[in-house]
């Protein structure tokens, strides 16, 4: 069996195992598993409104997944997507409420602000990694909490006067699409999905087709060899984190300018950044894989909301399934070993 087939087989098996265990949990808890999955399906595709919501949810998932995947491909683990997303969200809304500009300037400006904020938030761990050899995992985790508390403070003191949320952004900065809303019976689907897909193509292009992308990957594979070949390792580490953070910041812009149109004080994380890790892993850290995985997780998340209504099953079941899928993908060593055994037996 070729490596390529195996690379595709591993995530498929992981998803199937996740669904299998999910089924066992439903049956063991005394729920009707068939009704559960029917409700899940109907909640995602049973109605054009739900499908609109699925694509709306897929949009930030693609970008968060790209952020994690880009860092992974260059040898870095960016757990800070969540924090970069939150600051991107804040920056986008900040620009959205403070200026009065024509749409052709205002909207791009708000999106760029989100990208810049995410990039800046990722620059710090990148710089510390390059300069002081500090492991990026811990720094990005800490930066998540700093982002949460700092943005809450800004919302409370700058964007409002002691209130829980900012004002709505100006129409000129909004990604909302009356066309899509009409098409999907007033779901919150917005133009952002095009930005997400363009970013996926961009990531593929940068990594696979440019010299810089080659350098970034090379540094991820082997720092010393890259250094010996004359590449600037430190700059490449920082650049890689900055690009990753840009994607994460854009994911925040999708929430701020598209889905919600405002920002509010958060008691905890949005979860999109952490789900982005699942998306990237399942997608094998490739652009096309991320888009497909984001679509799967987006449908699961949105469809899950229908499970308590139609089948009386808590929607947390889907969170369990997603966590299990991460486990199984992460444990791909054992799945590969198993495939190897099976295919060898076939030869005999």
């Amino acid at each position: 069996m070729s490596n390529r087939t195996k690379n595709i087989l591993v995530p498929v098996i992981a998803v199937l195992l996740g669904i299998l265990v999910g089924t066992i949990i439903m049956v063991a808890s005394g729920y009707d598993a068939a009704a559960g999955y029917t409700a899940l399906w109907n909640g995602a595709f049973g109605d054009v409104y739900f499908t609109g919501e699925v694509i709306r949810q897929v949009t930030p998932y693609i970008l968060a997944g790209l952020a994690v995947a880009f860092a992974f491909r260059t040898g870095l683990f960016n757990i800070g997507v969540e924090g970069q997303l939150i600051v991107g969200w804040l920056a986008a809304v900040w620009v959205g409420v403070s200026f009065d500009l024509p749409k052709v300037i205002h909207l791009p400006l708000a999106i760029l602000a989100a990208a810049a904020a995410g990039a800046l938030w990722a620059f710090i761990p990148g710089y510390l990694k390059a300069k002081f050899r500090v492991h990026e995992v811990i720094v990005t985790i800490m930066m998540n909490y700093v982002a949460l508390h700092v943005t809450n403070n800004v919302i409370r003191t700058v964007l409002s006067e002691g209130k829980e949320r900012s004002e709505n952004i100006a129409d000129t900065a909004s990604l909302r699409s009356p066309f899509f809303e009409g098409l999907t019976e007033y779901s919150r689907l917005h133009w952002g999905i095009f930005i997400a897909v363009i970013c996926a193509i961009l990531m593929w292009f940068i990594l696979e087709k440019t010299t810089k992308g080659f350098e970034l990957r090379a540094v991820g594979f082997n720092e010393h060899a890259s250094q010996y070949a004359g590449m600037n390792v430190k700059n490449n580490i920082i650049l890689s984190m900055v690009i990753s953070g840009t994607f994460a910041g854009l994911a925040g812009a999708m929430e701020g300018l598209g889905t919600f149109g405002y920002t509010a004080i958060k008691s905890g994380f949005t979860g999109v950044g952490f789900d982005g890790i699942a998306v990237a892993l399942l997608g094998g850290n490739t652009a096309i894989g991320v888009v497909l995985a984001a679509f799967l997780f987006g449908s699961l998340k949105v469809g899950a909301l229908n499970m308590p209504l139609e089948a009386g099953i808590p929607n947390e079941l889907v969170d369990i399934i997603i966590a299990l899928i991460i486990f199984f993908v992460a444990s791909s060593y054992i799945i590969r070993w198993f495939i190897q055994r099976m295919s060898k037996k076939g030869v005999k």
Binding site: I25, S29, F77, I79, L128, F132, V134, H135, V137, I138, V139, I141, M142, M143, N144, Y145, V146, H149, V150, N152, N153, T157, S267, G268, F274, I277, A278, L281, P314, E316, L317, V318, D319, I320, I322, A323, L324, I326, F327, A330, S331, S332, Y333, I334
Partner: protein
């Protein structure tokens, strides 16, 4: 308000908030000293908090005022069992430790909220009747000044946590088991050559971290939140992780860091009632633990280095 009055508010509150952090950070030390990165501490605390609250609610009629203590033990067991998933994935199945830890965190929240809805048919549990409450420690509280400051109006759990920290220090630095655990985390191949079972030591490290993480969550749930919902444990596990790093992977260092972080956390809550703090924005206190940890890692406050082999897999026969 005199200095004494302020200290009388701050010290018990600091110790209250520090106890779960101390316990969970100690758990992290066991795991990381054996070479397994454990960012699943948050999830283990969630499991501990959930188990303790559910056990407490369902047995309080028979066990009476012993309930919270028994619940701690049950939560430890639940944390240990749950952490085995992390052990199996990251040791036997060679999963990336960080990824497996992320999965643990997501899984813990998913499973516990699923079970809460299954058992209680609503999003959160009832409030427990019998939690840990303020006490004056016998004998010690009658010491002048010190007794009032440290041993009155306080919680047993804070002292249990400090005592456990000292025990963990003894175990890790003064016993053969501790030496083996550390050697497996620093240089597994050398340890293997000397006849130490690397896999077994790492499993023990992770399971101990699960037990202590569960204990930390249970203490938090029964002394601070008193019920269980999606927001009961929100970041305490990661703060414990920060305390472990800030304490340079040393049990007593981690304890000191946890007490300091507990101080910052309690100030951010009670700060408004203190005269000299009411003008300082809350946000500085909230982010202090995280910023300090980043600075510690960077080397501004004495460099913190992880055990050498942490995060790596030991594969027999490979070099």
């Amino acid at each position: 308000m005199g200095l004494m009055d302020i200290l009388l508010i701050i010290i018990p509150s600091t110790l209250l908030w520090a106890a779960p952090l101390i316990l969970t950070a100690l758990g992290g030390i066991f795991s990381e000293r054996s070479g397994v990165v454990n960012i699943g501490l948050e999830g283990l605390m969630v499991i501990g908090a959930f188990t303790a609250i559910v056990f407490n609610l369902s047995t309080v009629d028979t066990l009476g005022n012993m309930t919270p203590w028994v619940a701690l033990l049950v939560a430890m067991a639940a944390g240990a069992v749950f952490s085995m998933l992390h052990a199996v994935a990251s040791i036997t199945f060679r999963a990336d430790h960080t990824v497996s830890g992320v999965a643990i965190n997501l899984l813990a929240v998913g499973v516990t909220l699923f079970l809460v809805k299954l058992i209680y048919d609503k999003g959160q549990t009832d409030i427990i009747q019998e939690g840990f409450s303020k006490i004056d420690i016998p004998v010690l509280s009658s010491i002048p000044v010190i007794g009032d400051l440290f041993f009155s109006n306080t919680y047993w759990t804070s002292y249990v946590a400090i005592i456990i920290a000292i025990i963990v220090w003894f175990v890790i630095y003064k016993t053969p088991f501790g030496l083996r655990l550390r050697s497996v985390g620093e240089h597994p191949m050398a340890a293997d050559t000397m006849g130490i079972n690397v896999t077994k030591m790492r499993y023990i490290g992770v399971i101990l971290s699960g037990a202590l993480g569960g204990l930390g969550g249970a203490v938090y749930a029964q002394s601070i939140s008193s019920d269980f919902s999606h927001a009961t444990i929100s970041g305490q596990g990661f703060m414990a992780l920060a305390a472990m790093i800030f304490g340079k992977w040393h049990p007593l260092g981690a304890m000191g860091a946890a007490i300091f972080f507990g101080f910052a956390q309690s100030l951010s809550i009670i700060g408004k009632s203190l005269p000299f703090l009411e003008n300082i924005p809350n946000v500085y206190l909230l982010i202090a633990p995280y910023v300090l940890t980043i600075l510690a890692l960077t080397g501004f406050i004495g460099r913190a280095d992880a055990p050498k082999a942490s995060g790596t897999h030991y594969i027999k026969g490979s070099r």
